[in-house]
């Protein structure tokens, strides 16, 4: 990861610090490359979807993957506040294991002037044994953000 990306990612209010929902579920950035991102959500009681099995709620995986896809897009396009998820498809391969942290590895494999394409997986320890996989498309240079953009 280059210094430009690194400094952009540490702008106050960006990515994870200062994003209330990301902070609420404990989302942290583990690693970032040119168009790739690795994020982690630690296991926590308030994230459980089924109290009997203690498996994390699917919505937590959705938040993790959506956010990780966004970070991958930002790392490739250097656009930060003004990207928006167009669509997100998630395939759930198996339930998450209780007490284990969940990681998401995402890759922005193509970006045009206005659209970025991303794919990723959520897993515990092994990317080839995923909990879920996803594909997403993001819009770049969204108008709303441009209007609201702070100098």
């Amino acid at each position: 990861m280059d210094n430009e990306t690194r400094s952009l990612l540490h702008k106050p209010g960006f990515v994870l610090k200062g994003v209330p929902h990301a902070e609420g579920i404990g989302l942290t950035l583990v690693d970032i490359g040119e168009g790739t991102a690795l994020l982690k959500v630690p296991y926590a009681d308030h994230l459980v979807g089924d109290p009997e099995t203690r498996v994390v709620h699917g919505g937590v995986v959705t938040s993790l993957l959506d956010n990780a896809c966004g970070v991958a897009v930002s790392s490739r396009t250097k656009q930060f506040g003004n990207i928006a998820t167009l669509d997100l498809r998630i395939d759930y391969m198996r339930p998450a294991t209780p007490d284990l942290d969940i990681f998401a590895w995402t890759e922005c494999y193509r970006a045009t002037k206005s659209i970025a394409f991303v794919r990723g997986v959520a897993f515990h320890t092994d990317k080839s044994d995923p909990i879920a996989s996803c594909t997403a498309a993001f819009m770049l240079g969204t108008t709303d953000a441009r209007k609201a953009k702070t100098p």
Binding site: G13, G18, V19, P20, H21, A22, E23, G24, D45, H46, L47, V48, G49, D50, P51, E52, V56, H57, G58, G59, V60, T62, S63, L64, L65, D66, N67, G70, G81, A84, T85, L86, D87, L88, R89, I90, D91, Y92, P95, D144, A145, A148, K149, T150
Partner: protein, 148 residues
Amino acid sequence: MTPRDILKAAAESNVKPDLTALLETIPYAKYLGIRVDRKGTEITTILPFARHLIGNPVLPALHGGVVGGFLETTAIMQVIFEAGATEMPRPVDINIDYLRSGRPVDTFARAIITKQGRRVINVHAQAWQEEHDRPIATLRGHMLMPEA
């Protein structure tokens, strides 16, 4: 009480499960603050706005994952209500289309079952805010009914 207790009790007495009680047993649904409103057979889920749901503090806008998780919960509630499940249905895949940014206000959602197969249910959910006809996101997904 677990979700299973509530579903089994409802099935045994041949009544619709109490979705409010069911949501109370699901920690992440409680954390998001999801509520449910039932009028006859029509189920509407409600996500009251709260600061911890924000994903873009600049706009500000709801986190895409929050909207997705809310729609997924809506779909699961509809499946439970209509299909008479005694176990929690499991999502197989979901497709979310984000149509508008989720503004910092209350969000509502409803779901319909588009096809009920023997083991897999196809479900469609839609979320809106001030205007029902201006949805902010839609979800299409498949749920697997665990074998009893």
